[in-house]
C-alpha cells in the first residue's frame, strides 16, 4: 500500500531541512528517485548538503538568492520564488520522482510571494498519488498543515549561540 505522503517539517528549531535531507538519504539508499528544490539559499553558498548531493548525483536546484526579507530587490526575490514554484510544478507532474523536497518553501508562502491557498489547491489536484513531497521552513501555512499527512515541529530547546559558539561547518551548514 504505497501512498505518497505530504510531509511538513516546521517550527523555530533546528532540524527541519536536516531531517528532510536525512529522509532524502534514506530514500536514495533504497534506490528511489529523488530531487531537491531550495527556495531561499543562494547558489553561491558552499553547503555541506549540496556537496554531498553532487557526490551522490542527486538532482538539486537552487532558486533562491539568499536574501529574502532582507532583499534590496523584492521583485527579483519574488520572481525567483515564482520561478522555483514553476520548476516544482514541472518536477511534481513529471512522473520522474518518488520523493521531492521543497526546502524552505514555507517562506515564499508565508511572505505571500506565492499564494498558499492556490499552491495547495494545485497540489491537491496535481500531485501524483504515489509521490512523496516534503516542505520545510518556519511558519508553515495552516491550510498546508491541515492537508498534510505528517507534520513535525522542531523546537529549539538550546542553541550553541546562546553560549557564544559560532555555527560549525559540516554540522549546521
Amino acid at each position: 500500500m504505497k501512498k505518497g505522503l505530504l510531509i511538513v517539517n516546521t517550527g523555530d528549531g533546528k532540524g527541519k531541512s536536516t531531517a528532510a535531507f536525512g529522509t532524502l538519504l534514506r530514500a536514495w539508499g533504497r534506490g528511489m528517485r529523488v530531487c531537491v528544490i531550495q527556495f531561499i539559499k543562494a547558489e553561491t553558498g558552499q553547503w555541506g548538503e549540496v556537496k554531498a548531493a553532487k557526490k551522490l548525483g542527486i538532482e538539486w536546484h537552487i532558486s533562491g538568492d539568499g536574501f529574502t526579507w532582507l532583499s534590496k530587490d523584492m521583485d527579483e526575490t519574488t520572481a525567483r520564488a515564482r520561478k522555483g514554484w514553476e520548476l516544482a510544478q514541472e518536477k511534481i507532474t513529471s512522473g520522474n520522482y518518488d520523493l521531492i523536497v521543497l526546502d524552505e518553501f514555507t517562506y515564499p508562502l508565508h511572505f505571500g510571494w506565492i499564494d498558499p491557498a492556490q499552491t495547495l489547491e494545485w497540489i491537491k489536484n496535481s500531485k501524483p498519488a504515489d509521490l512523496h513531497l516534503i516542505i520545510t521552513g518556519r511558519n508553515a501555512p495552516p491550510e498546508w498543515m491541515e492537508y498534510a499527512d505528517l507534520v513535525s515541529e522542531m523546537a529549539e530547546i538550546k542553541h550553541p549561540y546562546q553560549k557564544g559558539i559560532q555555527a560549525q561547518a559540516g554540522i549546521e551548514f
Copy 2:
C-alpha cells in the same frame, strides 16, 4: 574556531534520527570522518539509511537487538547496550572521527541499562574537544540536555497513522 558540539535530538515526534542522518550527510559532503552506532534497531532490519551508508562507505554499527523494553531476555538487551557503549567509548577516544552519531542512545540511558550520570561524566572527561557527537531518542536524560550545546525537540503535530496510513519505505524507514 572549531568546537565539537554535543547535540541532542529528542522529543516524541519524528525526525530525531532522520535529522542526525541529514547532519551525517552534510558532514560526509564536506569530507569529514563520520561513524554511526545504533543502540536499538536490530541488525536484521532492512533500513534505507543503512543501505545508503553501505553505498557511501560510511562506518555503521548496530548494537541493538530490536526488542528493548519488549525483550524477553533483558540480560541480553542490557548486555548489547553496554557493548554498544564500550564501542562508542572506543570510537570517541580513537581520534579517527569528526562526527559520531549514537542513534537511539537515550533509551539505554532512560531505561537504566547504562548509567546516565556516569556516561555523561565520562563524556565530559574523555570526548575530544573537536569531536561532534549527536545522540538521539525520546526522554533524553536531564543532565545530558543540561550539558549539551544544542538540544532540539521534535514534536509530533500530525502522523499518517492517525489517518490509517501505514509507514512508507524510504520515507519513514
